[in-house]
């Protein structure tokens, strides 16, 4: 069956969204059963998830998904009836089944509507593991067809794939396509026939005497190609007959069903179409000639790969790029929120109409302004999702990592109903995953060590989310070893990150773990010892306009706190003016505003209630010409506990602003995170306080360090 029309595609999108949710529920339920095997409600929920999943998959004719899920559902049905007991072993078999279903669903999402060979083999292996748990009366239903060997096809020299598209008048001319297929059978063995009825028109437009069907035939034969060609001699002129060696065709099939890869070489290698030696040869030749020659071309020219195979691999590779850019996913929206938005838009239209009536003009203007504000809030709330879903995913991570590392860890999640922008949720889950793994890997000790330290053998990992002043804060806390201040310091000195004589506060020391290339792990485990480092975590968080901080007590654990804005689209800003230019400082960074005391011009710090406050003259940094205002102001901003002043000419007050990203031209501009358009049409730059401050106060601090100013 083919999904070509838009309705079906849309329905399929919804199915995929639902299926992912059902799977999450399934996995969550299974994990719940592991800790509480007798929870009838959980058993019911898990069974229902599998049952619904199977049903929906059936609607779309996804037989591979139906077949597999059916067995899982049957087993869960027995669990529900009390015929099968929940044991850790059972859960350990069912969890990979959930993973497998997830893989199949992602395959469907990527447009693969039937099982790939490796998938089928993996599915069969999993079902075989389920069999012992099923009561004797029930035998596992065989898979729709034999499980082929998942290894890539071997070279078949005598196999041909024939694609037969006969002319529309062939039946009238007394040529029956079926009889050609029948005749092909006399030349050898027909391995496979696929009838393609996609050209068949609607019933009303169909002419019963016109030929619409096309056939694809895989023929294994000793006959040479010309002999196969001669079969179609009489229909050749009006038909489209293609005969391709099956080896290439089966590689092409295999490649089309593969998971996506970034690099062409990977695609070709994994499919077995080329050997590692061949790839190496091709890469060498490519280097000798010039890198501008694509590797695919080299492979073809050197006769290392079949053009059809390279073509298929290229489209697979391109699909990767496509699916990354065209990330149009459906999102579920709470109906009452949507109703509210539509009501508001209605009111807005009415208010807008009344602004044209002059007498009521001013009042209506105020009303429009108020409504626009509400509409914007309401529209943004559509994109808000509770973070709990994301946090609960880590239950599985914790479970698997504990099994790997032989640790005992209980995960507690709180504040899961705190909401944040969907786009943010998606982008924060990777950094969070890394922090969780880091805690499990380096933070929480193995049970014997914990017992020696007088702690319970089971460690605790706490994920806690809460709203705080226009931000969402997510904490990853463990009760493990904590950070080793001395070791971090020694390592930083060793790496030349800081001078040996430096005296740093605890927070500054802990902050060092986010420096590139910094890892205190002495053993590189297969988890967080490699892959992304903490520096990448910090960079990702910073890219979301967030910040990250560490608290730790040696021997008692560590807490890593990520602070993020609620949405990426709008910030509460503080509008300031420097000469003719306007800038916006994110309001959540502003602690206070004071007047700049008169003082020596060269100094870039002032006395704020007895403390030294270094400051940055925006006029100077952005090279704004003209003389500063007579009375300048200082906006005091706070960044990871350090306060810094921004010297400006004018304070223009708070201002909610819609962020427009800067173009790629400004990608390397530090200290500016975006722009916005003011009511009068001017552009104002939004300052990125973090980099701005660290960039400019470091050398100022260094300059000031020897001579403290008298208070």
């Amino acid at each position: 069956m083919s999904f070509s029309d838009d309705d079906t595609t849309e329905a399929l999108d919804i199915f995929i969204t639902e299926a992912r949710e059902l799977l999450e529920a399934l996995e969550e339920g299974l994990l719940g059963l592991e800790s509480d095997p007798d929870a009838a409600e959980t058993v019911n929920a898990v069974f229902r998830s599998a049952h619904t999943l199977k049903g929906s998959a059936g609607l779309f004719g996804l037989t591979h998904l139906v077949g597999f899920t059916h067995v899982v559902e049957t087993l869960l049905g027995h669990v529900r009836e009390g015929e099968v007991r929940v044991t850790p072993e059972l859960i350990s078999v069912l969890l990979p089944c959930a993973d497998h279903i997830a893989g199949v669903i992602e395959g469907v999402a990527a447009g693969r509507l039937s099982a790939t060979e490796p998938q089928e083999a993996a599915g069969a292996a999993l079902l075989a593991r389920l069999t012992p748990f099923l009561p004797g009366v029930f035998a596992v239903a065989p898979l729709p067809h034999d499980i082929p060997d998942p290894s890539p096809p071997a070279e078949v020299t005598r196999g041909w794939r024939l694609t037969l598209r006969f002319g529309p008048d062939c039946l009238r001319n007394g040529m029956d396509p079926l009889s050609f297929v029948r005749y092909l059978g006399t030349l050898g063995t027909i391995d496979r026939v696929a009838v393609d009825d996609s050209a068949l028109p609607d019933a009303a437009d169909m002419d019963p005497e016109t030929s619409y069907l096309a056939f694809e035939v895989d023929l294994i034969t000793d006959a040479p190609k010309p002999e196969i060609e001669s079969v179609f001699e009489f229909v050749r002129d009006e038909s489209d007959i293609r005969i391709a060696p099956l080896a290439a065709a089966s590689y092409v099939d295999f490649i089309e069903a593969m998971p996506q890869r970034d690099r062409l070489g990977d695609v070709l290698l994994e499919s077995g179409a080329v050997t590692p030696t061949e790839i190496d040869t091709a890469l060498r030749i490519q280097r000798e000639r010039s890198l501008s020659v694509p590797i695919g071309q080299v492979l073809i020219e050197e006769g290392l790969a079949d053009p059809a195979v390279v073509e298929a691999a290229l489209t697979r590779q391109r699909k990767v790029a496509d699916s990354r850019s065209g990330d149009t996913q459906t999102i579920r929206i709470d109906a009452t929120r949507l109703d509210r938005l539509i009501d508001l838009v209605g009111e807005l239209v009415i208010a807008q109409a009344s602004t044209t009536v002059l007498a009521a003009g001013a009042e209506a203007q105020g009303e429009v302004t108020r409504l626009i504000d509400e509409v914007r809030h309401s529209a943004l709330s559509l994109r808000m999702v509770p973070i709990g879903m994301t946090l609960r995913r880590f239950e599985r991570v914790v479970r698997d990592v504990c099994v790997d590392l032989g640790k005992e860890v209980a995960l507690t999640i709180s504040g899961g109903d705190a909401e944040m922008d969907k786009a943010l949720v998606e982008r924060i889950s990777d950094p969070l995953l890394h922090l969780v793994r880091n805690s499990l890997d380096h933070g929480i000790e193995p049970p014997p060590e914990r017992v020696r330290a007088g702690k319970p053998a089971q460690g605790t990992l706490r994920l806690h989310a809460y709203h705080d002043a226009g931000n969402i804060v997510i904490e990853v806390a463990d009760d493990g070893r904590g950070l080793d201040r001395d070791r971090i310091l020694a390592k930083a000195v060793d790496r030349g990150l800081i001078p040996a004589s430096a005296t740093l506060s605890d927070a500054e020391v802990y902050d060092l773990i986010f420096e590139p290339g910094f890892s205190t792990a002495e053993t590189v485990s297969n988890l967080s010892g490699r892959g992304v480092g903490m520096d990448v975590v910090r960079r990702n968080v910073a890219a979301l306009r967030g910040s990250i901080e560490v608290e730790s007590v040696r021997g008692h654990g560590a807490t890593i706190r990520i602070r993020l804005p609620l949405t990426l689209a709008i910030i509460d800003g503080f509008l300031v003016g420097v000469g003719p230019s306007s800038f916006i400082v994110p309001l959540d960074r502003v602690t206070e505003c004071v007047e700049l005391p008169p003082g020596p011009r060269g100094r870039d710090c002032m006395n704020l209630r007895g403390e030294v406050l270094p400051f940055i003259r925006l006029r100077h940094i952005f090279g704004i010409p003209g003389t500063p205002a007579r009375r300048q102001n200082v906006v005091v901003v706070e960044q990871s506990g350090q306060r810094t002043g921004l010297v400006v000419d004018a304070l223009m007050g708070e201002f909610q602003t819609v962020i427009k990203p800067l173009g790629p031209l400004f990608a390397n501009l530090k200290g500016v995170s975006g722009s916005t358009i003011l009511g009068n049409g001017d552009v104002a730059l939004i300052l990125d306080v973090g980099p701005l401050v660290s960039e400019h106060t470091d050398h100022e601090r260094a300059r000031q360090a020897p001579a403290m100013i008298p208070a």
Partner: protein
């Protein structure tokens, strides 16, 4: 629930009569059983009609069930690697 019987030639020579008959029967029933026991001959034109009926049934939300394939039908389906179940 009722049936229709296709008999004789289900080929290019009879397709022009057979197709409208089958489609008309489909319009009237939510579940249509089509007996193929008396089909003496079937070619690509006949196969097309069965495929079209299947698709049409899916479009209007009814069900078509092909049953009792005659030897001629069985042979043609075998060539095309199809089955009656796949068609229904």
């Amino acid at each position: 629930m009722s049936g229709v019987e296709l008999s004789g030639e289900l080929t290019i020579h009879a397709a022009a009569e057979q197709a409208p008959r089958l489609l008309a029967a489909l319009e009237e029933k939510s579940v249509l059983r089509v007996r193929l026991a008396d089909v003496t001959e079937i070619d690509t034109a006949g196969l097309q009609i069965l495929l079209l009926a299947r698709r049409e049934a899916a479009r209007i939300g009814s069900t078509v069930e092909f049953r009792d394939a005659s030897p001629a039908v069985r042979e043609a389906l075998a060539i095309a690697h199809l089955s009656l179940e796949a068609l229904s």
